[in-house]
């Protein structure tokens, strides 16, 4: 129970990360490997607002969300410049990771920040024999809320319909007179803001460190491969699955923990290469 609860909260953070990645790959074929660096920036911004300046957590969530949305605007412009070439996207991503990680070490120092302490989220709730920290519950709540919101927008609104249509037939969407570039730019900025929020919420249990730029990205990529691109429900179920599996393997097989996740990913690749949600990658 304890392990499941830990896993679900990590899964919620992973979902927030993977949602942006998978929407971008699905809607524009944009592979933004700097998404983990955006998460990291969110975590550090959250630390500055919440821990260093002692402002309330919701302020940190909004502040980091706005900050990473601005980073998203910059990234979107750069990715827009190079077009749809995977080669260039990889190089641009890596360059942005190098720069953001180095800048964050410059600003916040090379030493990792310990998990954020928030007074009203201290303590834990007893559920049966397990005691679940309130902070982890808060993470799960935020993750579930954002998941519900994203699902609603993508499945029930006009904008969501445009995004879904853009994944299936971009030239048709453009022919209908819709400015798809603008919609994609919006997805990019929104995805970055959500990654920043993930950074703050994840900071409650993981703290902030420059290694997260790659570590969190990697877990999110596994979520994307397992869940398939472009579907909120697929990404969400994969994220929770990966979170729980990661928590279990960490406690049972510490020497091999990450291998378990990769084994799952390899299995999905072999059995169902398009991931659980099954939309083909472009």
């Amino acid at each position: 129970m304890q392990i499941v609860a830990n896993g679900v909260s990590i899964g919620a953070v992973l979902f927030l990360m993977a949602a942006g990645l998978s929407l971008l790959i699905g809607s524009m074929g944009v592979l933004n490997l700097a998404h983990g660096a955006v998460y990291m920036a969110g975590a550090y911004l959250g630390w500055t607002i919440c821990v260093d300046n002692g402002l309330p957590l919701p302020v940190a969530v909004i502040g980091a969300g706005v900050g990473t949305a601005l980073i998203g605007v910059l990234f979107e412009r750069l990715f827009h410049l190079i077009g749809g070439q995977a080669d260039q996207q990889i190089l641009l991503s890596f360059g942005l990771v190098e720069v953001l990680v180095n800048l964050s070490q410059w600003i916040w120092g090379a030493v990792a920040k310990s998990p954020f302490q928030v007074s009203w989220l201290a303590g834990s709730v007893k559920v049966g024999s397990a005691s679940i920290p309130v902070a982890r519950l808060a993470i799960a709540v935020v993750g579930f809320l954002v998941a519900a919101l994203l699902w609603f927008v993508q499945d029930r609104t006009r904008v969501g319909a445009i995004v879904r249509a853009g994944m299936d037939d971009p030239s048709m969407v453009r022919a209908l007179g819709i400015n798809l570039d603008l919609v994609v730019a919006g997805v990019f900025v929104l995805g970055s803001a959500v990654a920043g929020i993930a950074g703050v919420m994840g900071g409650l249990v993981l703290g902030a460190s420059s290694a997260q730029a790659i570590d969190v990205l990697l877990l999110a990529l596994i979520v994307v491969v397992v869940g398939g691109v472009g579907s909120v429900v697929g990404t969400f179920s994969a994220a929770i699955l990966i979170g729980v599996l990661d928590a279990y393997s960490r406690s049972w097989l510490p020497e091999m923990s990450s291998v378990v996740l990769y084994a799952l990913m390899a299995l999905v690749l072999v059995v169902r290469p398009t991931g659980l949600s099954g939309r083909a990658a472009r």
Binding site: D87, L103, L218, I222, V225, S258, Y262, L269, A281
Partner: protein
């Protein structure tokens, strides 16, 4: 009998090899060591380009395949005291080729961006394994340390002792032989068909070529040469760590290939050497701010340099010939 005239690029290559062989006359010891390292990374980048540029398979796990070779010779030497160079590289190449086969079988299930994600995560799996598994670590550290320069059997009789000069020349010989093999493979009918599969898989299938088999073969060959380069890296550095084989290292290999010009013959070799030197001098300039320089090289390459250095040279050459033709 008609004497075959070597192509200008072949002559330039021969001159460059000769220049490297004679360079210890003007280079000091650290510079010789840097040049050795640059040669090794040139070979590693050239090996990546077999699958990347010629097979059209963007791999983000290549440094892990090189790492398999490096870890193979490291473990043989440190844990089993087998120090023969020839046995070492044989094992490194075979093991890397086998791991690449498994990699390829898994990753080729995925298409497009999915393939890139699969190679990224598979490569990172090996790096994590190296970080977590005790069998892949020297006691007390998270790396294999104390890998010595190997013994070369009868060749050792000709060399008084292995200093940076003789090591540079030995690595040069191995890298040149391996590179000529790669050039031969890419120029063969196999290389032609591989590029055909890259450019139009459906047409090649219709002509009776098995696209999947060509892709898999390119990944295995690419991995085998990566294993050789990784083994050279471990011998030369004396240490191999999980970060040597992680995603950042794989990203640098992609930079080397694209900066040099993917799908060209000499481009990746040049790109590998240039980026290795740039990394070294950026570190000399400022240890703490070096990543900003590397990041800038990445971003500028992504934004500006589409065909790489080799592409730029080819374009200039074409313009020059056109100008001469019209005059």
């Amino acid at each position: 009998m008609k004497l075959a005239v070597p192509r200008p690029s072949t002559i330039a290559f021969a001159v460059a090899v000769l220049a490297v062989a004679l360079s210890p006359a003007v280079l000091d010891m650290p510079q010789q060591s840097l040049l050795t390292r640059a040669l090794i990374f040139g070979l590693m980048a050239a090996s990546l380009d077999i699958a990347y540029g010629h097979g059209g398979l963007a791999s983000l796990g290549h440094s892990a395949l090189a790492g398999v070779g490096g870890y193979s010779v490291g473990i043989m030497m440190v844990k089993h005291e087998i120090d023969s160079f020839f046995l070492g590289i044989l094992v490194a190449v075979v093991v890397s080729a086998l791991v690449s086969l498994i990699f390829g079988l898994l990753a080729l299930r995925a298409k497009g961006i999915y393939f890139i994600l699969a190679t990224f995560t598979l490569g990172q799996m090996l790096s994590n394994l190296a970080l977590q598994w005790k069998a892949l670590k020297s006691p007390g550290v998270e790396a294999i340390v104390g890998i010595g320069w190997p013994s070369f059997g009868f060749i050792d009789n000709w060399v008084d002792y292995w200093d940076s000069t003789t090591i540079l020349r030995a690595v040069l010989v191995v890298v040149v032989i391996a590179f000529l093999c790669i050039r031969r493979i890419l120029g063969s009918p196999f290389g032609q068909s591989l590029r055909g599969v890259r450019d139009n898989a459906e047409r090649m299938e219709a002509l009776g070529y098995h696209a999947w088999a060509y892709r898999l073969a390119s990944i295995v060959i690419s991995g085998a040469f990566a294993g050789l380069a990784g083994a050279l890296f471990a011998y030369h550095s004396g240490i191999i760590t999980p970060s040597n084989i992680g995603i950042a290292a794989s990203g640098v290999l992609v930079l080397m290939v694209i900066l040099g010009g993917s799908g060209s013959i000499y481009g990746p070799l040049i790109g590998g050497m240039v980026v290795t030197a740039a990394q070294f001098y950026a570190g000399e300039w400022s240890e703490a701010r070096a990543p900003l320089v590397i990041g800038a090289i990445y971003i500028v390459t992504a934004l500006a340099l589409r065909g790489g250095v080799a592409g730029a040279v080819a374009t200039q050459h074409r313009r020059w010939r056109q100008a001469r033709g019209s005059a």
